[in-house]
């Protein structure tokens, strides 16, 4: 059924950047500032403890300023010559292959740059307050800067290998930050899990790059996009599937989704920045960036859509069942990224909307995560929503900003999420009815779980522990919340006059004819109604009842399934980890016994033979004489048998 996706645009745009000219320095600075920040803070060690957070924040802000300079410069250029490139140096070469390390700044990167540095800066500011009491704050900022630098590398790279550099850089930063509180065994386990599962995705990226190299002899976006139509569809499909695997790992898509919920072990600003707003959307970026491949590989796109659809439902379901506020948000993130992935799988009609949703999601999800952080900050770092309740009075700013995010995510008309999600549902319905229906169901479920979260946290009766005294967070934390809340509300402005679609068209291609089967207005109405049903359901199931402090055990199998994240971890453990460890144990036995044993056994055999044969030397002359006679006979036989 998914195969009915059509190739809408036979010719994807070619990436044809120009020299960077004046913009070379800002372009390099945008990346270099956070990188330098990270280096200074890491190498400076304890000497930089006192002002480390300031250096880190300044680096992020400086980077943001550069991004703005670049963006306005870009807006000043004609639409078809907005892409610029800085070639730094030849990274490596072999035979005919040559991989350049370069920065490509075009419309797509521009938006990402703003999101990363903008939201990134806000989160830096927020973290000054959030991490104020952590004696390793300097290191935290170092890692944050490292993350920003890597993420910028990811979206600025001018070729796939450069992208891989950023890709793994953000993975490393994510690893370091998830496990920032390493003394917690859960955090340590989560960080490793995140990295390892991401590595599974990297298999896709590594092999994808290999296949690209083998096919095109180059990995630069410019050259590959130029040559892509010459390659045969099978190869392109393979590349597409491999890239999808990579995207699944980084963006926590089915079947590599399990790490994201565990990643909530990291400090909340990390969850906001990395595991909501930016890094986890890298998969979407990868697919959109590789549009020249996916456009020519409809089968690969079908797979992308399928993965996105499955994940959006899965994430939503998990969001409904969790009591941990961050995990609900994480499930939600999975689900929302599912939307984006699905949209990007739709091809040219979807790319722009995928990015649009990515941006709005970046705003409102960061907002909500930071809000959740603020809540935790006020409740002794408790994350269990069953221990909250009625916090709206204790933390009015947090509540109000969170509410903006809430309205945005459920798609309340007028809020940013409404516009972006609506467009995706519309596009999905246009391409495939089933996918569209799934998207609509997802929207309803979103309405349910987000309402549940709102109710359990800010409404209903207080269920705090004795010693918890909820209080509002300091200004340094609330100001970023307010800014993000404003963005969550206003993000939809980007769609005015289809601005974002037109803006991105030179990169992702333009849809010329698009006739949705159902009128757009009808889709919006349906979506809003469905969400309303979800919200109402939550109101009746959660808002009208008392929320028990302990999670009830006697729940339906469906809830159990969702609570346990569809038993994906159990599956991985039972099917991969445990047998794997058993096999490794077996291998060790094999190594000691068979591989080493063969050689060592040979050695002892020689030793044994030596012991036996030395007994032949029994000290009796007459037996020596016998051996002498035997020798003579042997010699004679050898001579006579051979010769006569």
């Amino acid at each position: 059924m998914l195969n009915s996706l059509s190739v809408l645009s036979s010719q994807s745009p070619v990436v044809a950047p120009q020299g960077a000219g004046d913009m070379t320095i800002p372009l390099i600075l945008v990346l270099a500032l956070p990188a330098a920040g990270a280096a200074i803070l890491l190498l400076g060690g304890r000497r930089t403890d006192r002002f480390g957070h300031l250096v880190g924040t300044a680096a992020a802000l400086g980077s943001f300023v550069c991004a703005l300079v670049l963006f306005f410069n870009l807006l000043g250029q004609p639409a078809d010559s907005r892409a610029i490139q800085v070639d730094l140096w030849t990274w490596f070469s072999a035979g005919r292959w040559q991989v350049e390390l370069g920065l490509l700044y075009d419309q797509l990167s521009a938006l990402f740059l703003l999101l990363i540095t903008g939201v990134g800066s806000l989160i830096h500011v927020y973290s000054i307050g959030y991490m104020a009491h952590d004696d390793r704050r300097r290191r935290f900022f170092a890692y944050l800067n490292l993350f920003v630098a890597a993420m910028l590398m990811l979206v600025l790279a001018s070729d796939f290998v450069g992208l891989f550099l950023g890709w793994e850089g953000v993975g490393l930063a994510s690893y370091l930050l998830i496990g920032f509180w390493q003394h917690k065994p859960t955090a340590a386990a989560a960080q490793k899990k995140a990295f390892v599962i991401n590595r599974v995705g990297d298999i896709g990226l590594s092999l994808g790059i290999s296949l690209i190299l083998a096919t095109f002899g180059t990995t630069s976006f410019a050259q590959v996009s130029e040559l892509a139509h010459e390659a045969n569809t099978g190869v392109l499909t393979a590349i597409g599937l491999l890239l999808l695997l990579a995207a699944c790992g980084k963006s926590a898509q089915f079947p590599l989704q399990t790490w994201l919920l565990d990643a909530m072990e990291g400090p909340t600003p990390v969850s906001a920045l990395i595991h909501a707003a930016t890094m986890v959307t890298a998969g979407v970026y990868l697919i959109v960036r590789s549009n020249f491949i996916f456009d020519l590989a409809p089968d690969a796109r079908s797979a992308v859509v399928a993965v996105g659809t499955i994940t959006l439902l899965m994430g939503a379901a998990i969001g409904c069942a969790k009591d941990d506020i961050k995990k609900v948000l994480a499930g939600s993130t999975m689900s929302q990224i599912g939307y984006m992935i699905m949209a990007s799988g739709l091809g040219t009609v979807g790319y722009a909307f995928a990015i649009f949703h990515l941006l709005t999601h970046g705003f409102f999800k960061a907002n909500m995560f930071l809000g959740a952080g603020s809540v935790m900050h006020g409740t002794n770092d408790d994350v269990d929503m069953r221990h909250y309740g009625a916090l709206r009075k204790a933390m009015p700013v947090t509540f109000l900003t969170f509410a903006m995010g809430y309205l945005a995510i459920i798609g309340f008309p007028g809020f940013s999420g409404f516009w972006s999600k609506d467009k995706i549902i519309e596009a999905a319905l246009g391409e495939n009815l089933l996918v569209g229906i799934c998207a609509i169901i997802g929207a309803a479920v979103t309405g349910f779980y987000m309402t549940r979260l709102m109710l359990m946290t800010f409404f209903t009766k207080p269920r705090w522990e004795e010693d918890v005294h909820p209080h509002e967070s300091p200004k340094v934390m609330t100001v970023p919340l307010i800014v993000l809340a404003a963005l969550s509300v206003l993000g939809g402005l980007l769609l005015i006059n289809d601005w974002i679609v037109k803006f991105l068209a030179p990169v992702v291609g333009e849809v010329h004819e698009h006739h949705p089967p159902i009128p757009a207005v009808a889709v919006s109405v349906i979506a809003v109604l469905v969400v309303a049903v979800g919200v109402a359901l939550a109101w009746f199931l959660v808002g009208k009842k008392d929320v028990p402090r302990e999670a009830p055990e006697d729940v339906s199998p469906f809830v159990t399934l969702a609570r346990n994240e569809f038993f994906a971890d159990a599956f991985n453990d039972e099917v991969i980890a445990q047998p794997g460890l058993k096999m490794i144990k077996g291998l060790h036995a094999f190594d000691d016994g068979v591989v080493d044993g063969a050689v060592m056994g040979g050695a002892s055999a020689v030793g044994g033979l030596a012991e036996v044969s030395r007994k032949l030397q029994n000290g009796f002359v007459r037996s020596y004489a016998l051996s002498l006679v035997g020798g003579a006979v042997l010699v004679l036989l050898a001579l006579l048998v051979v010769n006569l």
Partner: protein
Amino acid sequence: MNTIPTPQIDYFQVAPMLIVLGAAVIGVLAEAILPRRQRYLAQVAISFVGLLSALVMAVFVFKRLDPNSLSPKRGQVVAMGSLAIDGPTLFTWALVLIFGLLALMIFAERHLEGGVLAFAGQAAAMPGTEAEREASSRGLEHTEVFPLLLFAVGGMMMFPASTDMLALFVALEVFSLPLYLLCGLARRRRLLSQEAALKYFLLGAFSSAFFVYGISLVYGFAGSMSYAGIAQAVAGSSDSKVLLYGGLGLMVAGLLFKVGAVPFHNWTPDVYQGAPTAVTAFMAAGTKVAAFVALLRLMYVAFGAIHVNWAPMIWIVAILTMVIGSVVAVAQTDVKRLLAYSSVAHAGFILVGLLGIRALGEVGPQDADGVTAVLFYLTTYGFMTLAAFTIVTLVRDANGEATSMKHWAGLGKKSPLLAGVFAFLLLAMAGLPLTSGFTGKWVVFAAAMSAGAWPLVVVAVLISVVALVFYIRIIVVMFFADSEDNGVSVAIPSPLTSTVIMIGTAVTLALGLIPGPLLDLLSRVGVFIR
């Protein structure tokens, strides 16, 4: 039937041998004439002068060979066709004489036994009796060992030079008989020494009987005792060759006994262990050289034409020798005995080199052929084994030499220099590069491979791995085993012994680093005259 002609002997050519035998006779006379106290000095002097002048003489003779000419006749057959004075002979002579000189030095060592020789004070006195104690307290010595050494050296010179089966037999006995006696003359552990002598003697005599019976059969086939005659008969005759192969087999058995090849090797460990260490050192180096060159000459000159026919037999023996020698050595716990097994294993490797025989036309003037290979290997092995056994004489406890391996534990701490040198020699025996052992191995392998015997080389290579194990075991014991205080110490010898160790080690190193000149020399002169 015919008249017996007056023997024509070119005395200049055989002078080195005659000098040694003459010195030996003088030594016997000196033993009879001189008072006991003067004998030691006189005997050492006679032997030294004899050996040295023989060596000088050998060099003179060698010069006359004109080794630089590439003409086929390098050397000549003298003494009525019974001795060949050619490149290999003279090289062997020089070698045997040098080994003789080195052996003389360790024979003459008196520091280790408190001012007397390491030989029995009075062989006739029974062990553990009053007579023995008295002989000991009076400081009696058997200075007869020096003439015996000279006789053995003389025999060893004649053996490889023989181009006549009768001369070969006589030479064999001339060098064997003194050795039988020397083996039984240890000052300490006399029971073992006597037993060694008995075993060596009985088995030696037994093998001589085979050898001489083989001679008679070959003579029956060829109608001549001389190699030239045999070669002619072998190449020409179309008679039944049962006599030939029977005789060849028995002769080879006798010679293989002398070189200690399996399964004729059983005497080697027992005799090497029981004999006075100085004698063992000399036997290991000298006998091997003399016997191998004799074997080489016999096989190449007399039976060279049928080398394809006898090669399989040597293959079998070579493999057996390498395998048994190396494998059994692994289980040894006595250093001397271990070195004896190592000597067996080395005999196997030399046999591999022996198989480097190729048809005459195939061997280029600069090729590593069997003769070059074997001569080179013998040189390297002789020096290292002499030095190694000499070192054994220095590790002592209250009962004399402490040869049990557990006594060697921690030697690296007690005497790093000695242990280091010994380790170096062991590594050389194992064939590690930068030692002569490696070059030696390489050259025998190259010779065998060039003759197409590559499977044998592969076997040899694999066996070498086993051989490594036991050499390294000694190193481990010396350097890495903890020694309880077992009263073992390293004796400080006189310069005589030190010199031997030094020379042996230096040659081992030198031939590892710059073997080129010697190899070039050997490849030029290493051709038997026929």
